[in-house]
């Protein structure tokens, strides 16, 4: 099957579980990953870094910039 035909056989992200499974059963793990990437949604606020010692709280962008700055200082001091 060429690439265009493969795309044509792809289910819609809104397809039912049974429809998606019927397709998944005929393709490889790699093909399913391609489908997943093609239909990927952008990152959300709950998909950002958590720093050790923060009690599991997502770090704010400002905290992360400070973290990077501290790491830069550490590297400058020789690691």
């Amino acid at each position: 099957m060429d690439r265009e035909s493969a795309y044509a056989a792809w289910p819609s992200p809104d397809a039912s579980f049974d429809e998606r499974q019927a397709w998944a059963a005929t393709v490889s793990f790699e093909e399913r990953l391609k489908w997943a990437a093609k239909h990927a949604l952008p990152r959300t606020d709950d998909d950002t870094p958590i720093l050790v010692g923060s009690g599991g709280r997502r770090a704010t962008p400002e905290e992360l910039l400070e973290f990077i700055a501290r790491e830069q200082e550490r590297i400058a001091r020789g690691g």
Binding site: P11, R32, A37
Partner: protein, 345 residues
């Protein structure tokens, strides 16, 4: 990304969306989520892979910033690191939720992981149960969205499980059953940058150095045989290596003895031939994580081949997750449904 991880010989288990997809889910994701082995050496290798992929830290939706140096120390300070690379999103997790207050890390996930293949490379993927549990506890909208499909896949997997898996034949009928050719583990190769350790076969002159290690090993196992009893055992092996077994002594870079392994010979009807039993494997605490355990196992495996033995078998405590991770790394397979018995004579 998988190629970069392989080139840098990073130890990890795939979790998250990719793991769900490997287990049959059809769901949207562009991120590779991994739980790496959390040692400094492994995180340094992971840092090198990230640098090769031009990774930038994703600090908020749609915004990434470059990080001057990505090394193991930096990675170890992030419980979750979300990165954007030229090959896609790449999230590094110290562990995945196991309960509301604890996480399952590499060692635990690795013990239950399955092996899959992508672009000709073998990868380790977290068990579906681990993936589902982590999403249930993480409790984000996207996790809620994924759960109905994952629950259906769990049900389908349970229904498809062979009936005899629930009623296994007695251990005595399975003992030492050799692996099928399709699942033969690959030979162990030291990781890049890992030291190769000179090992020596134990002889009479090695005994003064072996004995203190054996004493530490016995103490670790809660037993206290006398020195004479231990020396008698070692000398019995030295006297009859063809039928009894052999021992190997490992040294560190300064020549100090830091580990040993005992290989005993027996026979197996299932393997239709001689097999080796890894009776003892011990590495001194200060030398752990340096590849000595792997080197000792490989020495025993090589000796098995030279001796015509069909396989190498051993037991370990279920809770010894560090040792179990090592055994997984060298390609050994566990028999989780079996129970070891012991009868005093």
């Amino acid at each position: 990304m998988i190629d970069a991880l392989a080139r840098h010989e990073v130890q990890y288990v795939i979790v998250g969306g990719w793991a769900a997809i490997q287990h049959g889910a059809v769901r949207r994701t562009d991120d590779l989520d991994i739980c790496p082995e959390w040692s400094r050496a492994n995180l340094d290798r992971l840092g090198a892979a990230l640098r090769e992929l031009d990774a930038e830290l994703a600090i908020s939706p749609g915004k990434t910033v470059p990080v001057p140096v990505i090394d193991g120390v930096l990675l170890s300070r992030m419980q979750i690191g979300t990165w954007q690379t030229r090959a896609g999103g790449f999230d590094i997790l110290r562990g995945i939720p196991k309960t509301a207050t604890s996480e399952a890390r590499f060692e635990e996930l690795s013990a239950r992981a399955t092996t899959a293949e992508i672009s000709g490379r073998k990868i380790r993927v977290a068990d579906l149960e681990d993936v589902v549990r982590s999403k249930r506890i993480a409790d984000r909208p996207k996790d809620h969205e994924a759960l109905p499909e994952l629950d259906k896949l769990r049900e389908a997997a349970a229904a498809a499980r062979p009936r005899d898996a629930a009623f296994p034949s007695p251990p005595s009928q399975q003992l030492h059953q050799p692996p099928s050719p399709s699942t033969q583990p690959q030979p162990y190769r030291p990781r890049k940058g890992q030291q190769t350790h000179p090992l020596e076969r134990v002889e009479e002159r090695s005994l003064p150095e072996l004995l203190p290690l054996a004493r530490d090993y016995c103490e670790f196992n809660g037993v206290d045989p006398s020195d004479n009893e231990l020396l008698a055992l070692f000398r019995a092996l030295i006297a009859d290596p063809t039928h009894g077994g052999v021992q190997f002594l490992a040294r560190d870079g300064d020549g100090r003895p830091v580990g040993f392994a005992s290989l005993f010979w027996t026979w197996s009807t299932w393997a239709t031939g001689r097999i080796g039993i890894l009776g003892d494997l011990y590495v001194a605490p200060q030398a752990r994580g340096t590849g000595i355990g792997e080197a000792l196992i490989e020495a025993c495996r090589t000796e098995c081949r030279a001796h015509g033995a069909r396989g190498l078998t051993w037991s370990t405590a279920k809770g010894n997750v560090r040792a179990r991770a090592l055994y997984e790394r060298v390609g050994a397979r566990s028999r989780v449904d079996w129970i070891d018995y012991w009868l005093d004579t």
